[in-house]
Symmetry: C2
Subunit: 138 residues, 2 copies
Amino acid sequence: MNTQTIALHLREHNLKVTPQRLKIVESLNTYGHLNIDMLYAEVQKSYPSVSLATVYKNIALMTEKQLLEEVKIPESKSVFEVKKAPHHHLHCRRCGKIEDVVIDCSGICRIAEEKSGYLVERTETVFSGLCPDCRSGS
Amino acid sequence: MNTQTIALHLREHNLKVTPQRLKIVESLNTYGHLNIDMLYAEVQKSYPSVSLATVYKNIALMTEKQLLEEVKIPESKSVFEVKKAPHHHLHCRRCGKIEDVVIDCSGICRIAEEKSGYLVERTETVFSGLCPDCRSGS
DNA sequence: CATCAAACGATAATTATTTTCCTTAAATAA
DNA sequence: TTATTTAAGGAAAATAATTATCGTTTGATG
């Protein structure tokens, strides 16, 4: 996704286009999932004088506007990603890598509804274990 | 679960039995899921002079010893529960209630493994939506 | 290019969590 | 029991994380 597309994306969500915001979204496009500190470090590479408060404010704002999403990972810091179609996450406990995985959860979701009487609007699953690299000991 | 059983449970995990610890575990047995603040408030009811640091230290220690478990809920504070057999969670976005639900996730878990090459050791799912009460507008 | 609202950066304030240190209490064994 | 040892508790300080404030700058719009 190029800069123009990201800029458009920001405007569609009623957000002014600033270099810091572009860099945040670009970083997330590049790396997939980053926590606050990693994101701050990334933005600093291009804008050494960026304020940590700017990163916090932008993440909060973009998350509120549904452009980004927070993913809570067991035993580690939350990461952020660019919001996309519903999907789930894989987390390697050894190297910390986080990946998306698209799986149809409608089955277990329906079972959860039947068992509980809840109306389920959203299902978040994190699968934790070892990624292919860490499995094979590399 | 009575006090004696909880005391035994603590000793089994190499933890001294103290009134504060008993109260923490009793509170979680009673309410199922509580965040730090709620837990502190609960313990204060019985021990008004308890220190917040004591609650933090005990939760960290008991979680480390696998007696408790932290559950990360999207858009809200983490809650703690007494560790039990694997299960998943339901979260009502309206009233904030959190409930356990036992569902067999081995199917999607296996699909996740096949799609990704990961070895999945643990699956955490949070179903969010409306609980029966909030569905019916009460 | 002028205007206006919003974003930025610096910093202070607030909130959350952890550490320190001294006192107290639980476990163990005499 | 009671003495001893070791860990836990409480108070407060220290640190970390997050949010708010405010003067200045910048992006959007006409």
